[in-house]
Symmetry: D2
């Protein structure tokens, strides 16, 4: 039995970790911390958990995790990097769902997050937790940086094309759309029902913090620098990310066969049959990314559409998938739930 802890479990990645771990057969949740909610029962804040947990939030303090094998950070950026060194020193492995360890270059991190990085010396050791690209490194990681929600969908969608070298890497476009849970559980006017329901908009067009992460990841996959135009949009729904990816083909290739072969052995990537396209609800609540690839009117532009649940394969589910790998378990342990439809 693995003893796990969670820092900052009051947001949506936190409650989703709790939901998934509640039925994970090999994990026991030892502690969960929150500065704001210390003393509150977990199931009082999140009524869906009634009957599943007796835990109470405790103050965020590394000592809360004594005896833990692994600690998850379900926090905004700039929290994990303050506590991680102490946990690692205590022999506890860390899975960080925030952005603190996703970029290898501390300067780039500072540029996008507007402050210096607190432990740049750990950036080289941190393992980027995308199992479909990095499985071996994940197995041995002490410090795991979970990919962001957009980056997961965009990288999985472009990966077969870049790995095969069949598209122009200088003009990639990712037009993505996310449900509102991606904005987190924070009281902001722009995320009220009255502001966001029955509405659709682009945001972060000039530059979204996920852009450098995605370009870093795509460049790793391609083995050469990649340039991406990334435009995220906000959809009036709770969960789900949909990425529509455009790339210029540089050679002739059987795209369907390429994608099916690339992901043939992946438990959590599902390439749809030719002619079908994914929808976000088909993955609601489950740790899967569904993909379709097509070439409209046989022109030289390839279009990939990819969906995931931003809170599962885009966050907490993927974190547990990585944990399973890190601790030598079957990668799918605790992640076999069926998407909720309708």
């Amino acid at each position: 039995m693995i003893r796990a802890g969670i820092v900052g479990g009051t947001g949506y990645t936190g409650v989703e970790l709790l939901r998934l771990l509640a039925t994970h057969p090999e994990v026991e949740l030892a502690a969960i911390t929150s500065r704001a909610e210390a003393g509150t029962r977990v199931d009082s804040l999140f009524p869906n958990l009634r009957g599943h947990y007796d835990l109470v939030f405790t103050p965020p303090d590394a000592s809360a995790f004594a005896g833990c094998d692994v600690v998850f950070f379900a926090t905004p950026h700039n929290v994990a990097m303050q506590m991680v060194p102490e946990l690692l020193d205590a022999g506890i492995r860390v899975i960080d769902l925030s952005a603190d360890f996703r970029l290898r270059d501390a300067g780039v991190w500072s540029e996008w997050y507007g402050e210096p990085h607190a432990c740049p010396e750990l950036l080289a050791e941190a393992v980027y937790g995308l199992p479909e690209f990095n499985r071996a490194a994940i197995a041995g990681a002490r410090l795991l940086a979970c990919p962001g929600c957009y980056p997961t969908a965009v990288q999985l969608g472009f990966m077969p094309l870049l790995a095969a070298g069949v598209v122009d890497t200088g003009s990639l476009i990712a037009n993505a759309a996310s449900g509102v849970s991606g904005a987190g559980r924070q009281a902001r006017i722009e995320n009220l029902v009255s502001e966001t329901s029955d509405n659709f908009k682009a945001y972060g067009v000039s530059g979204h913090r996920h852009l450098p992460e995605i370009e870093q990841g795509l460049s790793d996959i391609a083995g050469q620098p990649v340039q991406l135009t990334f435009v995220p949009h906000l959809v009036p729904m709770i969960r789900g990310i949909h990425a529509t990816l455009y790339a210029r083909l540089t050679g002739d290739v059987d795209l369907q066969a390429l994608f099916e072969a690339h992901y043939a052995d992946e438990p959590f990537v599902d390439v749809l049959p030719a002619g079908e396209f994914p929808q976000t609800r088909s993955v609601r609540g489950a740790n899967v990314c569904r993909l379709a690839v097509t070439r409209p009117r046989q022109r030289d532009m390839v279009v990939v559409t990819a969906v995931e649940d931003n809170l599962v394969k885009g966050a907490s589910g993927q974190a547990i998938q990585a944990m399973n790998i890190m601790f030598g378990m079957d990668e799918a342990t605790g992640l076999r739930g069926v998407p909720l439809l309708p």
Copy 2:
């Protein structure tokens, strides 16, 4: 291992049965039938099931269920009553999610459904499948009539009051609201997004088909005739039923204690602490009914609010709960999933 079959699995109670049975450790799905979709793969119609089923819909024919221990009907009314006698004769137990066997009086059934009942001789044998009232009878049932979605919430909400005899049984009011999945997976203009989203309305005010079922059930509970005003409403959401119940108190009673005691041993009824009120999302995807009871301003009117997922505790989950009882398993087998929130 129980071998199960499903008749008519193309609606929402059908896909929900499939979702829940996919992870039920003691059930193997042997056959699923549909006239309209015969030949179609189940996971082609419902993409959330990809990777979980290899089944193909077959034509509706009792022979499809040879060797089955139990058959579920996830059909509109007037289907089960045509096939049930043949299945019972073959020694197969039947769990009917439709309305065919819910009313004991064939005349009342005909009045509300506009046609004669096809096998009135089975009405006396059919067991009404509300475990919280009828657990012992369910265990021995050959033919089980699953309660409707509204009737489940309304009966569970009024049950402690009626069982204790502390309210006027002649003036009960059930003001209920349902998500749109309750209207089924049928192509009707009134259930389009453009007609129903950003909208709220009452319907069936003059008389809804669930009314005689609820009055029959409440009368059974009370041990005397009960009169109910029942007004259902349509909410622009997918899943969930919320019932707001009003009754005139005829005596003084500690309502919170009454409800907690009544449901103390029930695995799937959750009485909230005093001062908290349930919301439908807190049970999304799970087989639970959450309740609150209150007495506004200490006047003589008691208000009960109850929520359930209409497709789970209001339909397919409750059907599986009944199956577990019928086959002597732990009642919660396969039903321990955590509600999806957000």
Copy 3:
């Protein structure tokens, strides 16, 4: 041309006043104030107003309204009562959309709002602005208290029954449901899309601030004390209120004829034909309340369903209707827009 001012136009009743006044042929908007947004262009905060206003928010100061004929308060409670005396002294008429002057009893006001009333001496003069009950008094009002959104729908629904004296006044029930804009444009977690979309819940069951206002109004209509059980609910939609009203009939009456006669001359109350029921979308954006009355199964319970747009007939539209009356204009001036459907 009437010169009007608005205090606090940054909420939803404020932007709705702006939308409606933009096309009112007899009103010129002279000033709009906001402490938080002073200096901001109105159309920068509310992009729907681009091309319709050149105004900038100014600090809240009575001097901003010099030369105005009327000032609207579109503020939370406890703002108007601080500024109203000074405006009245300056000969400016006031239309208050907040709760400050709705209750005639300062003690009751204090009990529900948790602080003393700042100018109790004005409560007797303030006119309750429900045109369908109070038209003559409105015409001469210096200080007008606009009814709340729930109180408007509930009073219009019960009014014909109470005026005719055909129901028991001691056991009225108002089961109401509101879109989320009723909660205002405030950053609160509970009104986020991820918290409220695909969800339904009751709130304020123990006692909502609109209860004393409704009971006061219904008692005025009935000419005797009235007791109401009031349970509001939150619907995942932006606009709209739906009230489902229950009353015990004390005599026989042709309900349809009663309602049609009562509202025959009202420009903004629409009694539906027998057998039809109103839906909130049928009044979206328009100053109308639609009603239906029915007697389910000819029992002694009458059910009235009423809808309005909470921001129009429930707030800003009704305020303009009252202004039209106060200034001797055709009551429907500027209020003839057609509801937006779908």
Copy 4:
């Protein structure tokens, strides 16, 4: 006073025409036809129109429009082309909101719509009704083809770039998203709330019927053949289209100044200030297209975002705008309504 008729007013473009014409000061609606709803009152089908129309649907027959100056077709394709010749012969001008006269090449029309065109001889005369490109021709049109909803947004977004010749015309991308009303008022399972709410998906990726219309229009604007990749998506909202357009810059240009200059005199195109991005709700119910142009990270890709209400500027409002031009009125007559927000 212009006498107008409507063919097929039972869909969403029909009810929107009715809503807008109800307050148009220069139009009298003489007749409205529908095969399915002949004999039904218009306000019985669309309750938002109660109090605004006394009309009854009549059978679709050209004689119904005797004495009309203009007839609108708010029908699916393949209706207008059957009736238009007879109306034109009777001296009645026609404004067709369907696709029948949008493509100049009858062969291309047949290829995309799967049947021969019924009156190819009129294709050359039909005027494409995009005022911002074709105002002069519209003024003299007998037969007007209203642009589709997607084509309007996409053409208005690309127009300044193509007119200025500053982008590569061979690699344009239009990633667009539409509310569900764009799919029409037809009973189809895929547009049910339970199927579409809380969901996002691409559709028509291999080829959408609006593609040839858009490429024809963009080529007209550019004065040379243009190649477009067009991927539409379905958003869980009722109204609104959002287009995200990508083009490769071929020269240096002040994009903001280019767009502001191009649309300086347009009453219904609004270029947002630099740094702001449009959202669909900002145009809900109004005849306006709002645009933003940006160049992310100063790379060579320009991104234009454009929004419109698909039923107004994308259909019925634009049709009335064209009618105003055709009859020599102020182009904005009857179209000055303010968008509904929230």
